[in-house]
Point group: C2
Chain length 547, copies 2
């Protein structure tokens, strides 16, 4: 598959974009006013410091400016702002791309011996600072896994594939499809993110309600550490001590470099479809989602937008004049004034899908909902990987946008929903500005669900990162206070690291630190990611998880 050139200072590939429709501009202008457009400096204007000298490395190391610039940041909003404004805080001194897992071990050994910091990098789509180079007083090498690609072995009988960590989503599914198999893990970053990145950050795909999170899809792992390749062979289940695979899933490059994962596959579905359902409100929609899960109705994709996101979402799709009129009429009816769109997708046999849809219909009808057809579903499905392009265009238009996600038991979901929205509104008021907060529920379980918030505000030139920090911090505090988890599928990175102790307690952080020390005694890997650097620890209030 020919690779298209990634954009160095924005989402995705060069040439691809998603412009902001007039209706969306009007909506945002009405709700937020206009902000200061964020210009993007041309690459030629970005001045990099000279790379620091490196000890001997066992691999070729790229030290040219273009490579260093393209491996300095991930895809968080602060990353994007830094890239667009030419204010990147730190660059790697070199980029290495091993061809084999053994070379990864060699690089780690050389780094340990030579006092080098190593930042493992898959697709570079982290939105939590997981691959962002930070200023450290040692040389920094980015270890790109881009050459560790492809399927190592396919076990069709067990529906398992050993896949190299650098393999990207489309490449993997394309290699599996001729065998009648699929993984079905489709995060929004699917086109650009890698198997290793998914595993390292505990990602979830849009089909997670059907196929599970990546946590559930990993049967075996190979991880490079300074002492060699550590292989945990594929097992369907085990009681041979604590599940060490689960310890490496979500380890974010702190405990080793994931070089290969054995993934659980499933047959390609006979057919696949979905529909959109309109529900009279958020609470009714959440209840339908819960009922579907707790009654075991087999849904593959489930996505419930709250009233705000439903409205904003409508401004993003180009409706025919007729459809636009029908939609205006519908939402003007008292019953659907706070209407919420629920997208439901199925994959499987025709018979199974029909049955599941019929069962689901009983639940949405009981909640006052009705199906509004398959077109909305199909459009969402066609565009679902393109939405991140909008962020770049919104910045250009003067509006900041970021997302955050959490999860909680069903009984706590309303408190998290209300708490985060209120905290964002309050934080915006403190900043003397306004914010639009949309939310969707997009990964559901028998015992709870994930909430995914999108917030937008008018940018103030020079204060973009401060605005973002105040909003993001307020939301994090609120979701933790309401019992939500720090992240459902974006990971911890550097951005969430200061909050981790509030969720897992002092003991949890101490356990992780002990593991990091045991597996990376030289402290080579990803400083500040997942766990704060020792120097980052201040006299913060602690004790979250402890009694």
């Amino acid at each position: 598959m020919p690779e298209r050139e990634r954009r160095w200072n924005g989402w995705g590939v060069a040439g691809e974009r998603l412009s902001v429709p007039d209706a969306a501009r009007a909506f945002l202008t009405e709700r937020l006013g206009s902000g200061d457009p964020l210009p993007a400096v041309p690459e030629a204007e970005v001045k990099l410091p000279a790379p620091r000298p490196l000890p001997p490395l066992p691999l070729p190391a790229a030290t040219d400016d273009a490579s260093r610039l393209r491996h300095a940041c991930g895809s968080s909003l602060p990353d994007l702002i830094a890239l667009r404004t030419g204010t990147v805080a730190a660059y790697p001194d070199a980029v290495c791309a091993p061809d084999t897992p053994e070379q990864v071990v060699e690089l780690l050994c050389a780094a340990a011996a030579g006092g080098v910091t190593v930042i493992p990098r898959g697709g570079g789509t982290s939105v939590t600072g997981g691959v962002t180079v930070s200023a450290v007083d040692r040389p920094v090498v980015v270890l790109s896994l881009e050459r560790l690609r492809g399927i190592v072995a396919l076990d069709r009988g067990s529906q398992l594939a050993r896949v190299r960590a650098g393999t990207l989503g489309p490449e993997l599914e394309a290699a599996l499809a001729p065998h009648g198999l699929r993984l079905g893990h489709e995060p929004q970053s699917f086109e650009f993110s890698s198997v290793g990145g998914w595993v390292a950050t505990r990602s979830a795909g849009q089909r997670s309600t059907g196929v599970g999170k990546v946590d559930d899809l990993v049967a075996g792992l190979e991880v490079a550490t300074e002492t060699g390749l550590w292989r945990l062979a594929a097992q369907p289940a085990s009681a041979a001590g604590p599940e060490l695979r689960r310890l490496l899933i979500g380890s974010e490059g702190r405990l080793g470099v994931i070089t290969e994962a054995t993934l659980r596959l499933r047959p390609l579905p006979e057919c696949e479809d979905g529909l959109a359902v309109l529900l009279p409100g958020w609470a009714a929609g959440v209840d339908v989602c819960r009922a579907l899960l707790q009654n075991g109705v087999p849904v593959e994709t489930m996505r419930l937008a709250d009233p705000e996101e439903t409205r904003f979402g409508m401004t993003l799709v180009a409706l025919s004049p007729l459809a636009a009129r029908a939609s205006r009429m519908l939402f003007s009816r008292r019953r659907y004034r706070s209407g919420c769109l629920l997208l439901l997708g199925w994959a499987g046999t025709t018979q199974g899908m029909t049955l599941a849809e019929q069962t689901a219909a009983r639940h949405w009808r009981a909640a006052g909902g009705f199906a509004v057809g398959r077109a909305g579903w199909r459009r969402w499905r066609a565009d679902r990987f393109r939405h991140p392009y909008l962020r770049d265009e919104l910045l250009t238009a003067g509006w900041g946008v970021d997302t955050l996600e959490t999860a909680a038991p069903w009984s706590g979901l309303e408190a998290v929903y209300g708490g985060v929205r209120e905290a964002l509104q309050r934080a915006a008021a403190s900043l003397g500005t306004r914010v639009v907060v949309g939310c969707h529920l997009s990964h559901a379980y028998r015992d709870g669900a994930s909430l995914y918030f999108t917030f937008l505000w008018p940018l103030a030139r020079g204060r973009e990162v401060a605005q973002w920090g105040a909003l993001k911090g307020a939301a994090n505090d609120a979701l933790l206070a309401a019992g939500g988890t720090l992240s459902h599928h974006h990971g911890v990175g550097t951005i969430h690291a200061p909050y981790l102790e509030r969720e897992v307690g002092r003991t949890g952080v101490a356990a992780l630190a002990a593991l990091a020390h045991a597996l990376d005694p030289a402290g080579v890997l990803n400083p500040g990611v997942l766990l704060l650097r020792t120097t980052d620890h201040g006299p913060r209030t602690t004790g979250g998880g402890e009694g």
Copy 2:
């Protein structure tokens, strides 16, 4: 629920037994010859050493002989032999039963300060030496969780229950049923094992194909360590770093004492039933099981016996003369000479069950199988918790019996099946004796399944443990060599600890040791369980998981 007195030197409760039918005696005599009956010494003849002096403890400590004897062993075969022959190697010096999680912390602190070893104990049904007191040069206190019982809180909307660790199976389900809920976790030890024990050992119940292993049922945990109570609140899913709950699941009392688990429940099924299917052979049966899983046919219980276990199983049920004659005729037909019985159980709605059974029938018919009715299923279900009583009677009759279990991907299952059977036969020949090996597949996944072996041999007086050790060791070596996991649901304990490194590698053992040191720096908890004691490490060949 009134508690019935547990037998001090055998399975279950006093007064309950399951005698060996004449047909089974005849089968074993023909296949194994007769062995030396293992007598059981009366309790009055067991002489305990005086308890060692203890430092001050924050709780009452029972030091009477009866308590110490009843808390010295688990339920492994060596445990049972030691109890019956009055040759228990070590006794605890005291037994403490805290009333609160806080008291567990206090006890651990006092133990750390006073140089005491603590062995946490739930129902005491470990078959891997997980609760067996071993000879150490420090005083030993068994920490019984029997008083930490009951449901702390029920969240009906999220179908979650916070349950104290000492709660036993029947007690839990009885408390949930009035709310229309169930856990559905039913290991063979269900009546006597505890929630904390299930979590600590990664147990699996007979409904695991439908409800999952206990690993999947834990949403939150509370664990006592020397630094306090560590609480990981219930979450449906998370990406807040590696899943620390999974680190504690399977920690076998080495990383802390599990005091509470938040468990994922499901609604009580409308109805429940199953049937027995006869398949022409083992390979055909395995293929049917695999097809059911990989095609998503919703089975709750699945249990395929191999030809040997099918035959031996028939000798254990009292068939009517007519049924016995029909069964003899059936198995004498060439096609079913190596016939295998498959039990399939469903729970849910009548409609769902009917559909699932029809779908399953297509698979078993395609493999040459046919349904032999519901009676066999119902009988198995009625008796399913009683089978362990047979072990005591077999020992009395002169035959040793033990079980071991593993799991592997479907593609590796045949190698494990053949390897373990062959190793046991070879080991028996080396001992100059014979062995009967039965096997069933009873926990299945999309990517693989568990195999559960039962082996019987004629006992030689005074050499019972040596015979067992030779057979068990050969089987362990064989299953690891063939790519099976050391245990699918019995855990590691002391019996499997020497093999763990072959599965998880030096790095895996080092990671666990670092964790144990971080969470239990005084080394109070369960020495020799999960991880070998430092003094146990010899110059063994290593490197299993490492490359």
